[in-house]
């Protein structure tokens, strides 16, 4: 059963067509991947589903649990259970980790915050009172952002390039968190161009020029993506990386 539907989404920014009649159904409790080359419109799709300001002027419809949420702002969509993690998480000067993580849950406590920090592989004592600023690496901020999502207990999570800027050890923690979300029945949409990330999905969409051009198993979509979408150099580099 689809928890989220996009129907004929058209998005144009500064005269460029970004999403082009995009229609898709995201089934409840699944880990979906949206894969595609750079510039395909993946992050714009995530922003459109989340209702970010830049992506609000669209044609078409977005349904969440059958409710039309097209005109809702990001905070109203979050109230209904949609949330998002960015490719490059924001820095918040002076804002403490515990305050940031706790802001999406009215019943947060230090104990609960410590628990979600542990889930993403960060030592609570070391991080809970630090600021979410540039004293933390991009990878640390990414995991803190994920911890904030875990505490929020959403129904649908958009993860934009969850592996970018993450070292190999930390990547396992990210994948563990994705599996944990799936076990909790949370629908996950992975926005990616990485085969490694794709392999953690149950179902995949191939996005090109703002359109879904294929969907199916990650193996099928991955094969097509590798053979048809990735430029040779990227393809070779990727294969070398995958073999490692």
């Amino acid at each position: 059963m689809a928890v989220l539907e996009t129907r004929g989404i058209n998005l144009e920014i500064e005269g460029s067509k970004i999403l082009n009649g995009l229609t898709a159904e995201f089934w409840s409790g699944y880990v979906h991947a949206v894969i595609g080359p750079n510039g395909a419109g993946k992050s714009s799709l995530a922003g459109t589903i989340m209702g970010l300001k830049r992506y609000r002027k669209i044609e078409g419809q977005i349904l969440f649990d059958g409710e039309d949420i097209t005109d809702l702002t990001a905070d109203k969509r979050a109230e209904r259970g949609i949330t998002m993690a960015w490719q490059e998480p924001a820095r918040f000067e002076g804002l403490k980790v515990h305050k940031f993580i706790g802001c999406g849950n009215n019943n947060s406590s230090r104990k609960k915050i410590a628990a979600v920090l542990e889930k993403v592989g960060l030592e609570p004592e070391e991080y809970i009172d630090r600021a979410v600023d540039d004293t933390l690496s991009g990878g640390e901020r990414k995991r803190i952002e994920l911890a904030s999502i875990l505490l929020m207990q959403p129904r649908l999570v958009l993860l934009d390039e969850p592996d970018s800027g993450i070292d190999v050890g930390a990547l396992e923690k990210i994948f563990d968190a994705i599996q944990y979300m799936k076990d909790q029945g949370i629908t996950v949409i992975l926005i990616t161009h990485s085969m490694t990330v794709l392999n953690h999905a149950d179902h995949a969409f191939l996005l090109c020029d703002g359109k879904i051009i294929d969907k199916g198993t990650p193996e099928k979509i991955g094969r097509f993506f590798r053979e048809k979408c990735m430029p040779c150099r990227d393809h070779d580099a990727h294969e070398i990386k995958e073999e490692k």
Binding site: M50, A74, D75, P89, K99, C103
Partner: protein
């Protein structure tokens, strides 16, 4: 009677800063009347009530290291009135002290609070001064703090000014610092203005001696029709002196902010940098918090709270 006033002053500050031990030095001043005091060994204090001011001289004797902070509680509980504090603070060679000043004007409609301070930080001495203001919501306070600070060789001076609770009203800070060889100073102002608040910060730091160091930092948030002008000046005159000016201002609604950082280097081996960032709340920060369910207004408040923390 004076006990009631002291109680009410601390109550208006939330009570948390009230000294609890006999070992802590403190002075409470309501308007231009001294209403409470406790002194400790090694700290000489001479307080004189004048018609329109209170003069207080503090001398921390050479080599004395105070265990706890010296608490200064200044305020006026009346709606109208004037308070002027004239401070002369001398931290002698090798001495160390932390002063915390809490200034409260909870009912102000038309109140003038002035402070004139002459501060001397002796050779290899250390002095930190934290000042927190808590105002009512009416904005009827005019705060005018002035200070001249001299930091002798190897001395260290740190000051922090905070006004983030209640309406600013008008504040006009003017600090001047002369820092001699191997001396260090850090100045931080954190102020949040709303409605028609007016914020003026003028700070001048002079790095006069070799290897002296100085940082001037201002974090200001203005909303509604509030205005802020930050004039930070750092002048380096000696070899290996180093300085930095940092001004961050968040502007919302019809508020106006201006930063005028001036850096001047008069020695080829000195180095001074500055950065100023003025603008609205970062959109990615805002969207991140909104995607956790915070309204735009709550998200802005949290971002500002972080910047001013």
């Amino acid at each position: 009677m004076t006990t009631d006033i002291v109680d009410n002053l601390y109550k208006s500050l939330g009570g948390v800063c009230r000294p609890t031990s006999e070992d802590e030095a403190h002075i409470e001043v309501h308007g231009n009347k001294v209403v409470g005091a406790n002194l400790v060994e090694g700290l000489e204090v001479d307080v004189r009530e004048k018609t329109r001011s209170v003069e207080a001289d503090f001398v921390l004797k050479e080599g004395t290291v105070l265990k706890g902070p010296v608490i200064l509680c200044f305020g006026l509980l009346n709606r109208q009135g004037q308070q002027k504090i004239e401070l002369d603070i001398s931290i002698e060679k090798g001495a160390e002290a932390d002063f915390q000043a809490y200034c409260t004007f909870p009912n102000a409609r038309d109140v003038l609070h002035e402070m004139d301070a002459q501060i001397t930080v002796g050779e290899n001495a250390r002095y930190s001064y934290f000042e927190r203001h808590i105002h009512g919501q009416s904005g009827g306070v005019n705060v005018v703090p002035r200070a001249n600070v001299e930091i002798k060789q190897g001395g260290r001076f740190a000051t922090e000014f905070e006004l983030i609770r209640g309406a600013v009203g008008r504040i006009d800070i003017d600090y001047n610092i002369d820092c001699h060889a191997y001396g260090v100073f850090e100045m931080l102002a954190r102020i949040s203005g709303r409605n028609d608040d007016e914020i003026i910060i003028t700070e001048a730091g002079h790095l006069l001696g070799e290897e002296s160091r100085g940082v001037l930092t201002s974090h200001i948030a203005v909303q509604d029709r509030a205005s802020a002008v930050v004039n930070n000046e750092l002048i380096a005159n000696a070899a290996f002196s180093r300085g930095h000016v940092d001004c961050k201002e968040i502007v919302q609604d019809e508020a106006v902010a201006r930063a005028v950082p001036i850096v001047e280097v008069n020695h080829p081996r000195a180095h001074v940098t500055h950065e100023a960032a003025i603008g609205s709340v970062d959109s990615k920060q805002l969207e991140t918090l909104m995607s956790r369910g915070l309204s735009e207004e709550a998200a802005v408040d949290l971002i500002i709270e972080g910047m001013l923390s």
